[in-house]
Amino acid sequence: VASPNVTEYLKGASKPHTLITTGSTNPVGIAIDHSGNIYVSNGSFGPKFNIVVYSPGSKSPSRTITDGVTAPVGITVDANGTLYLANDRTNNVEEYRSGQSSPYQTITEGLDRPVSVTVNKNGYLYVTNLEETGPVAEYVPGSIKRLDRQISKGLYEPFGTAYSPPLLP
C-alpha cells in the first residue's frame, strides 16, 4: 500500500505523473486556486488535522493552516481565493480569506456532518451533508444562513459534489 500522497495525472494519462508526499499525512480533500496553489486537507482519521498549501510546482508545503481545522474533509476555493473547509464531525464550514490562516466566518446552520463543499462562479456555496436530514445545502455569497431551497431527491449519504461550469477555465 502506498504511503499517503497526492497523485497528479496529466490529462488523458492513466498513470501517475507526480506524487506529493511531504505534508500529505492523511489527504482527504484537495483544491486548486486560480494562481495554481494546491490546498490539501489532512483529515478526519489521520494523525494531524490541518490544511497544507503548496505553491505552484512545489512538492513541499509553503503554509500550514490549523486554526479552525477540527475535523477536515472537503475543501474548495472560490474565484476570490476564499478557502472553504467542511469539518465533518464538528458540523461546520470554516471560511478563510485568501492567504489567511484563521477563519473569518463559520457556517453552522443547516449542517449535519458536512463532507464536501463546492462554489460556483457567482460565489454560491453548496455543502453536502452525509446525514440524511439535509443532503445538499445552499448558501448565497457571504451568508451563513442556509437557503430554503435544497437538493435532496434521490440522495442518501451524499458525498462529493461538482459544479458545472467549473470555476477554472
Partner: protein, 125 residues
C-alpha cells in the same frame, strides 16, 4: 490515503500538439456553459452520481450515472464537461459530457481512495 489531482496542461502546449480529444468544440462549450448543473455522488443505498439543475428548489435529478461506479466519492469537472469520479474502491472513472458510460478508468496510483470527497483539476502546465 491518496487524493487525486488531474492536470490538464494544455495551456503550456502549442495548439498543433494538442490531441484531438483536447479540442473544445463550439457545441461542447455551449452545452457546458448553457445549463448550470450540480453533480452529487451518493454512496448509500444508491451508488451513483446524480445530476441536478443548479438553482432549482429541490429538483429531480435529470441524469443518473452508475456505470463504472461502486462507491463514488470525489468529483470534479473540466471545461469540456468531462466528469472525473473517484471511487473508494480504488479507481477514477472519466465520463464525457452528456455520457453515462466511462471512457477511461484510471487504476494506477489509486489504491487508497477510501475517504476522498474531492478531486481537483488544474489547467496550467
Amino acid at each position: 490515503m491518496a487524493a487525486a489531482m488531474l492536470a490538464a496542461c494544455g495551456g503550456s502546449q502549442p495548439p498543433g500538439a494538442l490531441p484531438q480529444s483536447w479540442v473544445i468544440t463550439a457545441q461542447d462549450t455551449r452545452y457546458v456553459h448553457s445549463v448550470p448543473l450540480l453533480y452529487v455522488s451518493s454512496e448509500g443505498t444508491t451508488h451513483d452520481v446524480k445530476v441536478y439543475a443548479a438553482g432549482a428548489k429541490d429538483p429531480t435529478p435529470i441524469r443518473i450515472i452508475s456505470d463504472g461506479l461502486l462507491f463514488p466519492a470525489g468529483l470534479c469537472l473540466d471545461a469540456q464537461g468531462t466528469l472525473y469520479a473517484a471511487d473508494r474502491d480504488g479507481w477514477v472513472a472519466e465520463y464525457h459530457a452528456r455520457s453515462s458510460k466511462p471512457f477511461r478508468v484510471i487504476t494506477k496510483g489509486t489504491d487508497n481512495l477510501d475517504f476522498v470527497p474531492s478531486t481537483a483539476r488544474e489547467t496550467f502546465g
